[in-house]
Symmetry: C2
Subunit: 430 residues, 2 copies
């Protein structure tokens, strides 16, 4: 048997503890599969006293995680601290510079400094694995970098944030509103006390940035992502979506357009016939459209101890086998800076919900504004009467440019009879 | 740039031509991604004159494919001839023995001689890639051997034959019978002139054998698979399935039981709530349940030029990068021979359709036989009246042993009022 692969783990939260558990439980299996044992030699975490239900007998405790980066008995540093800067970034940088392989679940770090990290790894000819950073246990990074490597990716999109998908699913199933469902999700531990990272689309955008890099061979570009969260989605919109044959999902999407690479995270109306419409609750899914393979979809649990630790361990076995690959499909020096395809130039169909005063002439005024922008309607729904005199009007459009849609929405929002800001949700056709 | 990886392709049918096309179209991309160019140096096929719409300028034509196995200028032999024996087997054996890597799409060969091939590859320290052998473009072999390597697989199952799935989908959508739909599929080129490989479940079983090996680290054991095809599924059964909340799919399933490894291919009643129930037409999907990752599903096109060639090229890039792995997760010498879990001991729920004479006492007789075998019913449906006096009776059972179910069915089939052999379809709960 070859000599063991020696690892140090920084961060013993849910995922870190999960990795320790798998290594202990499947030690023999992993040694067989990886060609040599994977041995945990050191760990570092904020609190040594915290109860974790893992056995750390014989494992060195480092008070300072940075000590892992230079320890002579460590081959791989597993960074599970999180955050795009601070200690996580320093630890990853120092570890790579010291010639150690790095495995990380840190999407924020990769979204912000992915190209820099890829270059640092290549400089020392070491590997950086981040399967756990995107979509939990789903081996989507491996699929993009290896399994589908024979394809030019035309488009990819996915449900990348389990919290948002859980909230949207529950809103649909119960008819309750966003705030109520968010509160319940927080109480149940499915959403953070400060939910903005999730519900405002930041977390999904971090993951999309990483996926885009791995799929298109472009420098990771978080700043180039158009991001909208799900706070403005009402149970009324969810109901209308159903009526129109759609389901509302927070998607991260990337594709090449004639202007460059378009990356966006926002709620979408997804046709019920599309498989991704049926990914519910905390599940994640990623669809990859390749020029030869066609449409493929990968689904599974996007978070949690077992799935995320499973992805970390897969990266460790790759390191054990010396099965390397540039972090983002092509060598760091060959990663290209593609132009950002501007959202104003986005072409797609739209759903618009207006809350209007129930009186004659409103529809005519709205239609006139849309016609002026050459936006053609696909359907219009008006809902009965209301004692308050305030009724929803829902319209869907054929494909047109986002800029025109925004101009129209701004003018419609200023009509006296329109009582709230128009709610706009993009419709995706798959 | 490192020196090119030089390949020879044996077999220029749909898939072979597809590989040539991708190599030509994405040459630069693949050189970047694989770290060196992939160069086609020689091909061999039955007919040189056949029109293939590919450019073979500068590529050596070998009349005898076996010449590829020993050619000094070839690093990888791509075997796309097919068949479990004959020339394909000899070519793969000779190539490996000559120290060449092998990439193949040949599921029949792997199902029959997988362990032997794995051992031959290891002996010479070369790679054998067969991503294209199972589920077309879906990178499921990579997922099992690498992406989910940190898991003990509890169960896997999948829609592995696009022809059967197309037939079952079309039967459901049109209400037409098996023979009619098969005939149309043959006319449209979705089914072979001799369809038995597909519709009798052999092709799916070949693929299941390979998947089981990669998932469980067992010696590939095609002979240990219980195989039933879809010929006995009627449009009436498909209708009843719908009514009961199921969809009928031909699945390949493998799991560990207390008796060993259970491998089976047969039509299943799949709950409509299960994602795999919605994989329609020629699409394939594989579900892997791991002890840490939970349930993951991979779907895409299971056949055709682009998807299958995409998988072949992915294997070639793995070879170019030297990213190796034992063929079936663990070294060939460590592959275990697990006992075959006998179908008699299979425990599951069942659907049984009887065609009976519409007269009093039949249900009582059937119920008595079931009760004697301690089979408890979950539901029973009896359909109206018929001028012929022949009506269907459908019953579903709770979980019980297959042996008991078979004994009961045999006795029920002998009742005078039962006019046809009972049609039994297993119900799977996911």
């Amino acid at each position: 048997m070859k000599k063991p692969l020696k690892i140090g783990i920084a961060g013993l939260g849910t995922v870190g503890a999960g990795v320790v558990k798998i290594l202990a439980e499947h030690g023999r299996l992993l040694a067989q599969r990886g060609g040599r044992p994977i041995k945990l030699v050191a760990v570092s975490a904020r609190s040594r006293a915290k109860k974790r239900d893992i056995d750390l007998e014989g494992v060195r405790w480092e008070r300072d995680p940075m000590a892992l980066a230079t320890a002579s008995d460590i081959d791989v540093v597993v960074e599970l601290i999180g955050g795009s800067g601070g200690i996580a970034r320093r630890l990853v940088g120092k570890s790579l510079a010291s010639g150690k392989h790095v495995v990380t679940a840190n999407k924020a770090l990769l979204a912000m400094h992915g190209a820099e990290i890829a270059a640092a790894a290549e400089k020392k000819d070491v590997m950086v694995g981040f399967e756990a950073a995107v979509a939990g246990g789903i081996p989507i990074i491996k699929a993009l970098r290896e399994g589908l490597v024979g394809n030019r990716v035309r488009r990819l999109y996915g449900i990348l944030n389990g919290t948002c998908n859980y909230i949207l699913t529950t809103m649909r199933e119960t008819g309750r509103d966003f705030d109520v469902v968010l509160g319940e999700a927080q109480a149940a531990g499915y959403a953070e006390a400060d939910p903005s990272f999730d519900v405002d689309g930041i977390d999904a955008a971090h993951k999309l940035a990483v996926l885009t890099g791995a799929a298109f061979g472009t420098r990771v570009n978080f700043a180039g992502i158009h991001i909208e969260g799900i706070r403005h989605v009402t149970s009324m919109d969810i109901e209308f979506a159903q009526e129109l044959g759609y389901r509302i999902k927070l998607l991260g999407l990337a594709r090449e357009t004639k202007y460059g690479v378009e990356q966006r995270v926002h709620p979408c109306m997804v046709p019920l016939a599309a498989p991704i419409a049926h990914i519910e609750g905390v599940f994640n899914a990623v669809v990859v459209e390749g020029d030869h393979v066609g449409t493929t979809m990968f689904q599974g649990r996007g978070a949690g101890q077992g799935p995320t630790a499973s992805a970390v361990v897969a990266d460790l076995v790759d390191v054990a086998r010396g099965r390397s690959m540039p972090a983002f499909v092509v060598p760091a020096a060959q990663l290209v800076d593609r132009a950002i395809s501007p959202m104003d130039r986005h072409v797609g169909a739209y759903y618009m919900r207006l809350m209007v005063q129930d009186r004659p002439g409103v529809i005519a005024a709205v239609s006139t504004i849309l016609a002026k922008e050459r936006i053609s309607l696909e359907s219009m729904l008006q809902r009965g009467r209301s004692p308050s005199g305030k009724v929803p009007v829902v319209l869907t459009t054929h494909e047109n440019e986002e800029a025109a849609m925004r101009r129209a929405a701004a003018r419609i929002g200023k009509l006296k009879a329109v009582l709230e800001e128009p709610c706009i949700i993009r419709i995706e056709q798959f």
